[in-house]
Assembly symmetry: C2
């Protein structure tokens, strides 16, 4: 079986755009909000039905302590297997009053489709379906085996997914994986992401007394929870930005020469970011390659929240008995959330902060793909052909996701195709996709499916 | 004119207790809440009327940026003048649902009178009136000139009072001052307070960007307001409790030998305090004299509140653009709030925390009276006689109040008499006084008025 002419695929996708729009509308009309436990079973069943319409064997499977996932597979004409990872759950739609049209009543206007979840990630599910339709119409069959894992808890940090993937290694066995999303950057260049940082989110809590005291009474003789918290935080990271927890950097892998080369090739967005956030310079005066490298290859420790005592207007003379901080560590390969928490607990104890309780609120491991992998290279090449622009290839991004078990447990090269753009307002009111991006992303996806069977990885 | 027999005064006070209770009820029925701007003019007029009934010339006077104050005077048979400082404003009554009877409907039960403000400070105003009644009934006249300054903003830190006192030095000229309140301690020993720490209350605010960022994006390249605040606070005070602002301790006066002697004579309440606050030990393991000394003679720096970023349940991956801390410095003689703020601003700037904005929310100077002053000694001796117990004499207390202008601008020895006890629940629901304490405090006050004319200060 030979590769289908690209023109056939493209023509089919354009010609069937209305069906895709209808399918995005059907999916987005189901308010499958994981954080609110709404519409999840219904949406999983709808996803499974859409896959079955394409001849897939699809089933809704339980995930431990999480919404169900949809697993589906269809055999193709080669022994090669491509796995798609997506999610059918969406962010809460609130604040509702900021939506121009209701979030779960999809609305098409100005060449765009507006709905909660259309960019993140339901439009991507339909993009995969439309690409499969084009391939099936052009070949009469699939040139490779195709599998789907479409989970329902991505927006609540994918609880249970690492365990699920690890438990179902045989079921999910594949040769490569296409990640949930992608699209174009500010300059309409296709964006390929080859890794994600990990995360370790903790809450630090200090209770120093059974009740608050009058600050005039206790100031020099009573323990103060807010001071304890401040000092504990200061012990964790100082003004130089270096995380002081012993062992924190031990398992950090330096970026490779190839990673650095990719960072150097990234477009310069410094001015754009400064304007967006109203800042005059980056931390420690970072700029150029050093900035790009720090942004994604440095472990971070971010205070996400602080709370203690009196937070209202004016003065109140209280000595707080309780204080709390939310702290988010972003991890780079090969750090692990478990290791970070363990080192942190041991360090605080040793530094005399045994009164600071460390509660683990969630974690994900960092993951990174080899940029030279032939599958990755094929996705980059096909992106270049479809978009007519040099792709932006990111060796890793600053955010986190459940990529680790796919890369390590399943041993897959992971790349992406997608329909997003920087103003899609994912997670915000008036989320949307541009239909032109949908067409391009679907053409790219169809090309990847077509060419995959003949692309061998080095492994 | 000779001193009236103590027995006459006591008999009169006991015999007229019902009138005093009625007057406390009248005063407490007016909800004169300074923080809420309620009932202040009405209450000032009622206080003036009660004084006029005793032959005082009384007027309601404006105080800059504050509720009006009541000034009153009545001449006596000597040239000596005794000034009473009190306040007619009260704390807010909220939370209302915790009151057994409505806060502004005074209720007498179990030998107690319950109402917002009855202990702090309206019962003390009536105590002074009842003592004057007893003295007038026994002598037919006052043995000294008596003046009152009864302000309406004590519960909101007495704004304008230092300026008012300084401006009206001639009007308020006197030879000694009885402070607003007093009473007995846990063991029913009369409590005499000879000084108050000062206070300097500031808010530290940091804004690092025009909007919050995603923590996955900004962690290693964007400034974080919460971290900036933590580091600035840590620069102000470390785990050793020492305030690191240069010059902060320069004007601190060591306690005198007499002060130390008074501290040594204080009752041991360590166990009681530990139980109240559920703590196993005091800061830095302080105990005994060192604890008592630190509690009142050390400058403090207390974080009263912290706020930044996400403070709700669970994780949210945000990098905060804004952070705020409330910080209360307690001052000892001869520190000043102005000096503390100036040193703090200069220090933060010099240490690289120019991004931390210091907003001054209010201050009061520390004040201390000579424990050997004959007036002070007379109040202690008469307390011993009335209560039949050795008084607890505190050279200074940890809290703050507007005592400085009375001690320094007017040059007065200040002591106190009062009707409170440790469980009076001042500032809390179900505030009350014990009528037995009212009688004792009034007897003490009458004795002080009687003996004052023949007590000369060393000045």
């Amino acid at each position: 079986m030979s590769t289908a002419p690209a023109a056939d695929l493209d023509r089919y996708i354009e010609g069937n755009l209305n069906r895709s729009i209808e399918e995005m509308k059907r999916l987005c009309a189901v308010p499958s909000v994981a954080a609110q436990g709404r519409g999840l079973g219904e949406c999983a069943e709808l996803v499974a039905a859409l896959l079955r319409e394409r001849g897939f064997e699809a089933r809704v499977m339980e995930v431990p302590s999480a919404p169900p996932a949809v697993y589906a597979e269809r055999r193709g004409t080669s022994d090669r297997t491509l796995l798609f990872y997506n999610h059918y759950d969406v962010q809460p739609a609130e604040p509702l009053e900021l939506w121009e049209t209701p979030p779960f009543e999809p609305s098409e206007r100005e060449g765009k489709l507006f709905a909660r979840g259309v960019a993140d990630d339901k439009g991507h599910i339909v993009c995969r379906l439309a690409a499969l339709d084009a391939v099936l119409a052009s070949y009469g069959d699939l040139p490779c085996n195709v599998k789907f894992l479409i989970e329902g808890g991505e927006e609540i940090s994918s609880p249970g997914i690492p365990e699920f993937v690890s438990r179902h290694r045989d079921l999910l066995a594949a040769d490569a994986c296409i990640w949930e999303s992608g699209g174009v950057d500010y300059d309409d260049r296709p964006d390929i992401t080859l890794g994600m940082r990990g995360i370790c989110y903790v809450e630090l809590r200090v209770r120093t007394a059974s009740r608050d005291a009058h600050s005039g009474f206790g100031g020099s003789i009573m323990p103060n929870a807010a001071w304890r918290l401040v000092w504990a935080l200061n012990a964790i990271k100082g003004t130089d930005g270096r995380i002081r927890v012993p062992g924190h950097y031990d398992s950090v892998r330096e970026p490779s020469a190839k990673d650095v080369e990719l960072l150097e090739a990234l477009p310069d967005q410094e001015q754009q970011i400064k304007e967006t956030y109203g800042i005059s310079e980056f931390l420690h005066g970072l700029t150029g390659l050093e900035l790009r490298r720090a942004a994604v290859f440095e472990p971070t420790c971010t205070i996400c929240g602080l709370s203690s005592g009196y937070e209202g207007d004016g003065p109140k003379t209280v000595l707080p008995a309780y204080a709390m901080a939310k702290v988010d560590f972003r991890l780079v390969p090969d750090q692990t959330p478990e290791g970070v928490v363990e080192n942190l607990r041991r360090y605080l104890e040793r530094e005399g902060f045994g009164d600071v309780e460390v509660t683990f609120l969630g974690g994900e491991r960092p993951a990174k793909v080899d940029p030279d992998d032939p599958f990755v290279q094929m996705t980059i090449r096909t992106a270049r052909e479809v978009y007519g622009q040099e792709p932006v290839v990111r060796p890793i991004v600053g955010g986190s996701g459940p990529m680790y078990p796919f890369v390590v447990d399943l041993g897959l090269p992971v790349s992406n195709t997608g329909i997003g753009y920087p103003h899609a307002r994912a997670h915000a009111p008036n989320e949307h996709v541009r239909l032109s991006d949908f067409v391009l992303g679907t053409r790219h996806t169809a090309r990847v499916i077509s060419e995959f069977a003949s692309t061998r990885s080095a492994r």
